[in-house]
Amino acid sequence: MRFVAVRMLVGDRARYFGILVGLTFASLLITQQASIFIGLMARSYGFIEDTGYPDIWVMDEKVQFIDDIKPLQDTQLLRVRGVEGVDWAMPLYKGLLKAKLANGQFQTCNVIGLDDTTLVGGPPKMLQGRLVDLRNADGVIVDAVGARTKLAKPPRNPGERSVPLAIGDTLELNDHRAVVVGICEVTRTFQSQPVIYTTYTRATQFAPAERKLLSFILVEAKPGVEPAEVCRRIRATTGLAAWTQQEFQDLTWNYFMKYTGIPVNFGIAVALGFLVGTAIAGQTFHNFTVDNIKHFAALKAMGAGNIMLLRMILIQALIVGLVGWGLGVGVASLFGFWIKNTELAFKLTWQILVVSGVAITIICSLSALLSLRTVLRAEPAIVFKG
């Protein structure tokens, strides 16, 4: 009777598409919103990922997330270096500084200062120039998006496009001259300011004079020593917070989950997709059953038992569920592919596929249950009613 169930369903084009539209919509909305959410949230720790390989991040114990800078005294670096199990420890400056552009305007930039000799923590990808060029006098590396947009030079002739900042161009950071020696690519973060990499010493010169300027200490554990163990020792001997890279990412993620409206907003969108999908799909699926009730009753009269009817309805629900889910996920992926090179956030993980799959399964199960109830309650005797 399997093919009878299938043909009953797909033969009724209009209604079949109606059910599919509901489920596709639900699947699309859930998948797409969840992907944007995950993509957006991943930006919270984008800079931690970009900084790459150090095992451990050391910072003030009150720091709650990556952009929450609570500077340390430079002497802390030496104390951390003295902790047993630390292979090396390097300073990292991170701060928002005003840059004066060629046209005289000011632009706040996210300035990253790397250890002068090792340049540990540099950008993930150089597009032009080399990281070591930072050692040249006044050298800075600018991120490509910033160079193209907020740091761009005015057009040569009025009405033309503005000219991207390029190697050899200069800008002024806090009255200090800076020369662009490279263009890099960085992962997008919540901070929309252009990113400028330079050496630690130069960064602290750019920064307004303060007693404490050291933002983070990047630490590598000795080979064979567990980073978690080194973290514990650093905490014990210095009183500073020490997190493994993953822990620091989680800390940052959790901060944004807890203290911003982002999860709630997306939660609402996902829930809405679920509810609307349930309403449309459940309604159309049930309508389909009700419209076919005479046929179901005829099957009952002709000897189709409850188990057989249950299987028929489950097959129908399974088909619309699979097709609807697949279409929704497909369209969501297309959307993701389409916005790939834009600034929009989108990260479709397998967990999201599971979540939308489970949601669609729930919608279909509820619809099937409702329909099953209708069919089981139908009196076979109605087949004789004209």
């Binding site: 009878v4 099957l299 000897g303 189709a304 009196e379 004789f384």
Partner: protein, 237 residues
Amino acid sequence: MDSAAAAISCTGVTKTYGSGQSRVTALRGVDLEVRAGELLMLVGPSGCGKTTLISVAAGILDHDEGECLVFGQDLKAMPQSRRTALRGRTIGFVFQAFNLLPTLTAAENVAIPLLINGMGRREAVDRGRAMLDRVSIGDRWRDIPSRLSGGQQQRVAIARALVHDPKLVVCDEPTSSLDHETGHRVMDLMREVAVGPDRTLVVVTHDARIFEFADRIARMDDGRIVEIREGTRIEQD
């Protein structure tokens, strides 16, 4: 108490629909014995309880009081699942409104009772086709019902009612959706393919011109059988 030869044997069967104000008594104590192998026609004015009676006899509706045995078995006393299975094996149905599945081909529609009884799809559809040959529309086996005329659709329905070789076939006004000419031809066909020594037919009808096909005619009025008389089929043969 009933002879083994009885296909259906009803004694004192009553049936009431609804309750309170909207209470309708459809059967007021029906006594009827349908002999195995006969074609019994059930006639009577509209609302007298014909459909109710054959629904009870076919085990798709429970009566209130009295007893109704089908081939010696009390369907009402059976568990639901056994009764459904028994219906699938031993009873064929022809409905006034044909009730064919609109998205299945004629042959597939005919195959449904076989599928319900667990036969594989291919064999069932092949047999459905063969059955369509017997009702003379074998060439239309691929068509969906909406491409067939009313008379052709009722032939498909008759093929479906007979395909699993049931011992009892119940038909509720099989010709009333058809014009007289077509109805007559459909009844001709019924007599040709449906009647047999091992098959009992109960046909509800208004159509006086098909009485000639009956072995016996039972006349109902107001929830009771008021008259049973011999038909003319045997004389005609």
